[in-house]
């Protein structure tokens, strides 16, 4: 009995310590990366039978290069076709920087199927660089039930302050491509980054596109982001040292052939 009590106590202590560890880690990750998370503001024009209507929207994006390339969720820019197949026209796109500046930007690449969009800040002088997350092709991967750290931003009424959320990976979907299901973030904005507890950029939050419709919130890993970004005229610069580091962390390239969920494991 005593052994049992000791075991439970040890387990609780371990859990509390782990919890304290992830909190501390998350704050460090936030400090290091919060300026790479920005608001995007857009005006879209929607064609209707009775004429056109304008709508304004805001969403989060993640800066992935020092030249100001931003990745976000395509659906958050209103860039999903309507029932007639018409794509709303993006009229005005701006990046709201943490210092309050508004920078004009251009939508440069879309992947409707992966809910990805890339936005480039316009006309930046050569000497201007942006704080950004480190994007590598073969980034780190999550295991089932790993912690993820999500950096976001509050809305305008809370001065768009940087926000922090820690959650768990609830599913690792491997086919047709690797994506992660998550818990506790269903209401969260997306287009923002997910990090592992070590502070590595693992992916961005987007919506799963299922049979042409918006589905669950997922983390799309960096590999897909990197591959898509390569199609843009000025490819995202790659940090060789970061890539090497990632390769060390993830020697196993094989992708399991099944989907794992916590429920299945239990």
């Amino acid at each position: 009995m005593r052994r049992v009590i000791l075991a439970i106590a040890a387990s609780l202590l371990g859990a509390i310590t782990a919890h304290a560890d992830i909190q501390a880690d998350a704050r460090k990750i936030q400090d290091a990366n919060q300026d790479a998370v920005v608001y995007l503001s857009a005006v879209i024009e929607i064609e209707r039978r009775g004429g056109t209507r304008e709508a304004s929207l805001e969403t989060l994006g993640t800066i992935i290069s020092e030249r100001g390339l931003i990745v976000t969720a395509n659906s958050n820019l209103g860039q999903t076709p309507d029932s007639d197949g018409n794509m709303p026209k993006l009229q005005d796109l701006k990046v709201l920087m943490p210092d309050g500046d508004e920078l004009p930007a251009t939508l440069v690449l879309q992947d409707v199927d992966l809910d990805l969009a890339f936005v480039q800040i316009d006309n930046t002088a050569d000497e201007v660089t942006f704080k950004h997350v480190t994007l590598v092709e073969q980034g780190p991967k999550f295991e089932l039930f790993d912690h993820f750290v999500m950096i976001g931003r509050q809305e305008e009424d809370l001065e768009r302050l940087s926000s922090l959320h820690v959650g768990r990976v609830t599913a690792v979907v491997k086919r047709p491509r690797l994506v992660y299901g998550v818990s506790g973030t269903s209401e969260a904005p997306h287009g923002n980054p997910a990090f592992n507890a070590a502070g590595d950029f693992v992916g961005v939050f987007v919506r799963k596109i299922h049979q042409g419709k918006l589905g669950s919130l997922i983390i799309l890993p960096t590999k897909a982001i990197h591959k898509a970004a390569q199609q843009i005229a000025a490819p995202v610069e790659e940090k060789e040292d970061a890539q090497e580091e990632a390769d060390k962390n993830d020697p196993d390239e094989a992708i399991p052939s099944e989907t794992e969920t916590p429920e299945a494991k239990l």
Binding site: T52, K89, L90, Q91, T106, L107, V108, L109, Q110, D111, V112, D113, L114, L116, A117, R175, P176, R177, I209, Q211, G212, A224, K227, A228, Q231, I232, S257
Partner: protein
């Protein structure tokens, strides 16, 4: 020997008298008919050869553009050197005019002058390309003052664009007005304030406009213009004579203006005579002379004037118009019963409103102010540019706040805008050699407010389309496995797709996928397609993969389950991603041929050319009959093998500026030639 019909008719007169003496009524009627027939034939012989069918391409401002339409009307050659009389509403806004003579000869024509107020226009045939030098047939303008109700008349012209035709009728009304003094508005002018039409029942139809109304003497007594009820209305030839004289000698019709709006006397003024002054334009000759609303004008330069109905106003207006510009006018009249005399010096009458012009770089059509339109818009002077229509998605429409119809652009940057010509020059300076739109601060006025906005002025206000990510693709086409189809194929309860086409030279073909294979699963995932709207489910699943992935397909072939592994490949370049070339002179857009065009069976594999992706409605290409989906194979003698080849060919054409440009196009299984005639100005 050919006998003149006129001589025949004259020779019949004694015969009629002779027959009357014998009392043979049947023969008399017959002879009368013969007489009239001879007169009609003579009249036709005198005018018909001079008839022309006028084919016009004209431009009208609408939706921020000058839109082109093709119309046909009628006209008459009235001088041997090729001047043609027609209506303003036929040819007054023409950018291209072709006249088809009664001899079927086709000649280009130039617009020499146009007069909106009388709805008349004068054209000049281009005789330089005539095949022979035979004299042109001409017709003579008669005296419309002699026209009486009941006169037999002939309407000649090209109804509905037909070749020259003649109808017969009588004059129903020698001074026809619209009911209640109603207005016939044409490009801002009230034609009824000057014209009293010759009403007749000779059938006329659209296309007769500009054609002559002819008396039995073979003279033009009117120019057909309108249909009012069952009657046709022709502009009297005496007015046409004045207009042609003015245009031929001065290039325009000079008219005087007093600045007084006159109206018939009111019913309670039955004890008075004269014309009532309804309003007086500020700073006009009438204003300076002291005329006021309520005054009654009884004499004009010593001649008594009176109007108790609206029909009597046009002659008074004509008296004013006919005074030489700057001439002296003495008006006598009454003010509250007291005799008055007003001395006025006339001024030149300007158009009520200016005609719209296109400013492509702004996405608008706009007007200059005339004296009257400035007054109507409560402008202090004629400076500024008034927006007439706005192109949806164009620079003016996209500005925030947007510039809309009726707004007056008064300043760009720090430079005042005088008129449309000045604004075009200012825009050209602003743009310089820039190919991209340039932002400019614009001051404009709207309902008394002075607003500012920024307009991105430039050759193309459209946002560039974002690039689409290149996706995975399997070289097959499929159909949904509906429940009924599944049952028929012994696959009841299954979902999936049936392969309907396997594209050659693809990895799908290499892997052995065949038409008729039913795909139930991909990598163990069910292909969840069973309803017609699930048509994209299979392709959507494929697009979720990376392009270089290998996928295991669970299929049913000939009733047997099989597994086939096939590698995916990168999808062909989508149509929306292909580079396009928009030509503003020809007014259409082309792009490279795509894989989708093969799927749509527009072209065969290996075909060359460029595909017309868009034809601007009412543009030059549209007028030539070019359609979206046409494949241009050749321009003049240049084969078009790529978009670049098309660009080069077009550039060469633009240097040479030929009158016509011949395109050889493919539409479906047929080929055809299309002839575009752009306006190089």
């Amino acid at each position: 020997m050919k006998v003149s019909p006129l001589l025949v008719s004259l020779s019949l007169i004694p015969l009629i008298l002779t027959n009357r003496a014998f009392g043979d009524e049947a023969s008399l009627t017959e002879l009368l008919n013969l007489t009239i027939k001879a007169q009609i034939e003579a009249a036709i012989a005198a005018v018909y050869p001079a008839l022309v069918r006028v084919e016009v391409v004209r431009e009208e401002g609408s939706g921020g553009r000058m839109r082109k339409t093709r119309v046909t009307g009628s006209g008459t050659i009235f001088t041997e050197d090729g001047y043609v009389l027609t209506n303003h509403h036929v040819a007054g806004k023409a950018t291209r005019i072709i006249c088809r003579l009664s001899s079927r000869e086709e000649l280009e024509a130039e617009l020499i002058g146009t007069d909106i107020l009388s709805d008349l226009a004068i054209l000049k045939l281009d005789l330089s390309n005539r095949k022979d030098n035979t004299p042109l047939p001409t017709a003579k303008l008669g005296d419309s003052g002699k026209v009486s109700v009941g006169d037999t008349v002939l309407a000649m012209g090209s109804p509905a664009g037909l070749s020259q035709s003649v109808t017969l009728g009588i004059v129903a009304n020698a001074e026809m007005m619209l009911p209640g003094g109603g207005a016939f508005r044409l490009d801002g002018e009230n034609v009824g304030q000057l014209v009293r039409w010759i009403g007749h029942d000779a059938i006329i139809f659209g296309g007769n406009s500009g054609g002559p109304l002819v008396n039995l003497e073979g003279e033009i007594i009117g120019v057909n213009e309108v249909g009012i009820g069952s009657l046709g209305g022709a502009i009297p030839s005496n007015l046409a004579k004045h207009v042609t004289h003015e245009i031929l000698n001065y290039g325009e019709v000079r008219r005087s203006w007093l600045g007084v709006l006159s109206q018939p006397l009111l019913k309670k003024m039955s004890d008075k005579r004269g014309i009532l002054v309804g309003s007086v334009v500020k700073d006009s000759p009438a204003d300076r002379a002291g005329l006021q609303p309520g005054d009654i004008i009884t004499n004009f330069n010593g001649s008594p004037v009176e109007a108790r109905s609206q029909d009597e106003i046009p002659p008074f207006n004509a008296m004013i118009f006919d005074v030489p510009v700057g001439g002296q006018v003495t008006l006598e009249g009454l003010r509250k019963g007291e005799a008055m005399v007003w001395k006025l010096t006339t001024e030149a009458r300007e158009a009520t409103i200016d005609q719209p012009k296109e400013l492509k770089n702004w996405g608008i059509t706009a007007r200059d102010f005339t004296r009257m339109s400035a007054i109507e818009n409560k402008r202090p002077d004629k400076a500024g540019v008034q927006v007439h229509s706005v192109l949806s998605g164009g620079p003016a429409k996209e500005a925030r706040p947007e510039i809309g119809r009726g707004d007056v652009i008064v300043m760009i940057g720090s430079e005042p805008v005088a008129n449309t010509a000045a604004l075009k020059k200012q825009t050209a300076l602003l743009l310089g050699d820039n190919a991209d739109p340039q932002p400019v601060l614009v001051h404009f006025e709207r309902r008394g407010q002075r607003l500012m906005t920024v307009v991105k002025v430039g050759p193309d206000g459209e946002n560039a389309k974002p690039k689409q990510s290149r996706k995975a693709w399997l070289g097959v086409e499929t159909q949904v496995l509906s429940p009924d189809l599944a049952s028929a194929l012994d696959l009841k309860g299954k979902r999936g797709v049936r392969i309907t086409q396997v594209h050659g030279d693809t990895r799908a073909a290499e892997a052995g996928l065949q038409v008729g294979d039913v795909v139930l699963k991909l990598d163990g995932m069910v292909v969840n397609a069973r309803r017609p709207e699930d048509g994209d489910v299979f392709d959507g699943l494929i697009r979720q993969y990376d392009a270089d992935s290998e996928v295991e397909f669970d299929i049913v072939r000939n009733g047997k389950r099989e597994t086939i592994t096939a590698a995916l490949e990168q999808q062909p370049v989508s149509t929306s991603e292909l580079e396009e070339y928009e030509d503003k002179d020809f007014e259409f857009t082309v792009r490279e041929l795509s894989f989708k065009d093969q799927l749509a069976q527009r072209v065969e594999k290996g075909d060359q050319g460029v595909l017309v992706s868009q034809v601007e409605s009412s543009g030059w290409a549209a007028l030539a009959g070019l359609s979206a989906g046409d494949v241009i194979k050749r321009i003049e003698d240049k084969n078009i093998v790529s978009l670049e080849a098309f660009r080069q060919a077009i550039d060469e054409i633009k240097q040479a500026k030929p009158r016509q440009v011949v395109l050889f196009v493919q539409r479906g299984v047929h080929t055809r030639f299309k002839e575009i005639e752009p306006n190089w100005e």
